[in-house]
């Protein structure tokens, strides 16, 4: 279980912002931190890992205090049992895949876990390779396995899939989902990809300008309704073409491109907009996501 309430003054791209966030994540839950870049997502994750120090507040994981400004507690990153997957993977270039994982073991660590993790992430055949000889997806698997090798109490993922092509991305999302199910570890993932939130997260925190605006199940947060028996597909607008009366909106659903005819309600849609797609009797209805 992660409980945190932290405050920090940040120098953002558009001037100073105050990060002021309260998070509660239950044991075994997969949570997502969603928001635009510069909203403070990565900073929050770094605070959990002990790589950035909050100005004030507290961080408690499974009842253990990792940071508390009142009691002057601030555990070093080494003392916090967190598995951190960096956006750039941060694999050690001079070590093989296996050595990268073994690096995470404590001195009297049991090497069995390395073999287990290699097998789980499908890296057994690549264990002697150097990171530079691997593909982006394989490198990300190594980073994930290495973060888990220390048997952390929380898994922190900083946009781990953002640099991958969409097929690899979808495969890895499935693998992360599976791995999370198997290990039952509490996880927090930073992402700005909506479909990813839907696919992986039990809970989402929407971060905007340093504040958490909404919290809850992704479907409840983004579509404001759930359980009405209808299909909801998160999608991204690629192109909105109008001939004056009707709009032809090209959208990306997962890795499928679909062209949809829409009326006046599509006027405001621009490429890059996140939308929710609901099929109606004859044609799908589009509604813009908040």
């Amino acid at each position: 279980m992660i409980e945190m309430h932290v405050r920090k003054q940040l120098e953002g791209v558009n001037g100073p912002i105050t990060l002021n966030c309260q998070l509660h994540i239950n044991s075994g839950e997969f949570a997502a931190l969603f928001g635009q870049s510069g909203a403070g997502k990565t900073t929050l994750l770094r605070m959990l890992a002990g790589l950035t120090t909050p100005d004030e507040g507290f961080i408690r994981v499974n009842g253990e205090s990792w940071f508390d400004s009142l009691q002057k507690i601030n555990l070093k990153p080494q003392q916090r049992r967190s598995g951190y997957v960096f956006q750039d993977q941060a694999l050690f270039p001079h070590l093989s895949v296996r050595e990268n994982l073994a690096f995470a073991l404590p001195k009297q660590g049991n090497a069995c876990i390395i073999d287990e993790l290699l097998a789980m992430t499908g890296l057994t055949g690549l264990q002697q390779r150097r990171p530079e000889t691997l593909s982006g997806g394989q490198r990300q698997r190594v980073a994930l396995a290495r973060a888990l090798a220390r048997q952390p109490s929380v898994l922190l993922l900083d946009e781990p899939l953002s640099a991958l092509d969409s097929d690899t991305r979808l495969n890895l999302q499935d693998e992360i989902r599976q791995l999370h199910k198997t290990l039952g570890i509490t996880a927090l993932m930073v992402t700005h990809d909506l479909p990813e939130v839907f696919k992986l997260a039990d809970k989402v925190f929407v971060l905007d300008n340093g504040m958490i605006r909404r919290t809850g199940h992704p479907a409840a947060v983004f579509a404001e309704r759930r359980g009405d028996g209808r299909m909801h597909l998160p999608a991204e607008v690629l192109e909105n073409h109008t001939d004056g009366i009707t709009h032809t909106v090209t959208v990306l659903i997962g890795n499928q491109i679909v062209r949809i005819l829409a009326g006046d309600d599509a006027t405001a849609l621009r490429s890059g907009d996140r939308i929710m797609l609901q099929p109606k009797t004859f044609s799908p209805m589009l509604s813009k996501l908040h």
């Binding site: 694999l91 270039p93 690096f103």
Partner: protein, 226 residues
């Protein structure tokens, strides 16, 4: 003709000792400069880089004054450590260390700065101490920079003239290194001996640098990820 190997041996000896001391002092200093946000950092950087722009004779002159027994530092060293740094091999070592410091610090510093910060942070989150991370993650990943620093320090000490002349003088077997010997031989119109020293220095420098570039090319693929 009988060649005198003494100055060349002394040169190599001086360069080796200087480089060894610079490995111990210069690499941690480079790491500190690369990662520090201390206010005194610009001052330290300036002091480290000074030998790059100062004429060697300026450094040599001040060291000569500082080390002379008439001055406080020189007197202290003589009285308490029984050490005379003027016109002695030890003095040459101190002068060379100061003079070659930027050649060790600067490549290693930019090596450290070229590493993504996430590399060290990843090691910390995996439970490893700062020292362990420095030894096992940072140093192995700046091997080309380390090699460059070591070779440049060595080569620069071999090529030293002004500082050595000022604080070492020209004592055969003690402070008479090859570069001084060449000057000395030319002055006494002994061109044969000058040629010998000069040719050996040229060959030595050429071989060392060539070896570095070949080695560096081999170490290169290593940096692709960094």
């Amino acid at each position: 003709m009988n060649y005198d190997w003494q100055p060349l041996l002394l040169t190599v000896q001086l360069a080796a000792v200087t480089t060894a001391i610079l490995i111990v002092l210069g690499i941690p200093l480079a790491a500190w400069i690369a990662h520090s946000r201390a206010r005194v950092k610009p001052l330290i950087e300036t002091l480290v880089s000074l030998p790059l722009v100062l004429p060697p004779s300026v450094l040599g002159f001040y060291l000569l004054l500082a080390f002379s027994p008439q001055h406080a530092l020189g007197a202290e060293l003589r009285d308490h450590l029984n050490l005379s740094l003027v016109f002695s091999f030890e003095g040459l070592v101190v002068g060379s260390v100061l003079f070659s410091l930027p050649f060790m610090v600067q490549p290693v510093q930019s090596g450290f700065q070229g590493l993504p910060p996430s590399l060290a942070e990843a090691a910390y989150t995996l439970g490893k101490s700062r020292l362990y991370t420095y030894m096992k993650v940072l140093l192995p990943n700046i091997r080309p920079a380390l090699l460059a620093g070591i070779v440049l320090s060595f080569a620069h000490t071999v090529g030293e003239f002004g500082v050595v002349l000022m604080i070492g003088g020209n004592i055969p077997g003690v402070t008479r290194v090859a570069s001084i010997a060449i000057y000395d031989e030319v002055e006494s119109l002994n061109y044969g001996a000058a040629h010998f020293h000069a040719a050996v220095l040229l060959l030595l420098s050429f071989t060392v640098l060539l070896a570095v570039y070949i080695l560096n090319k081999r170490l290169q693929p290593f940096r692709r990820l960094v």
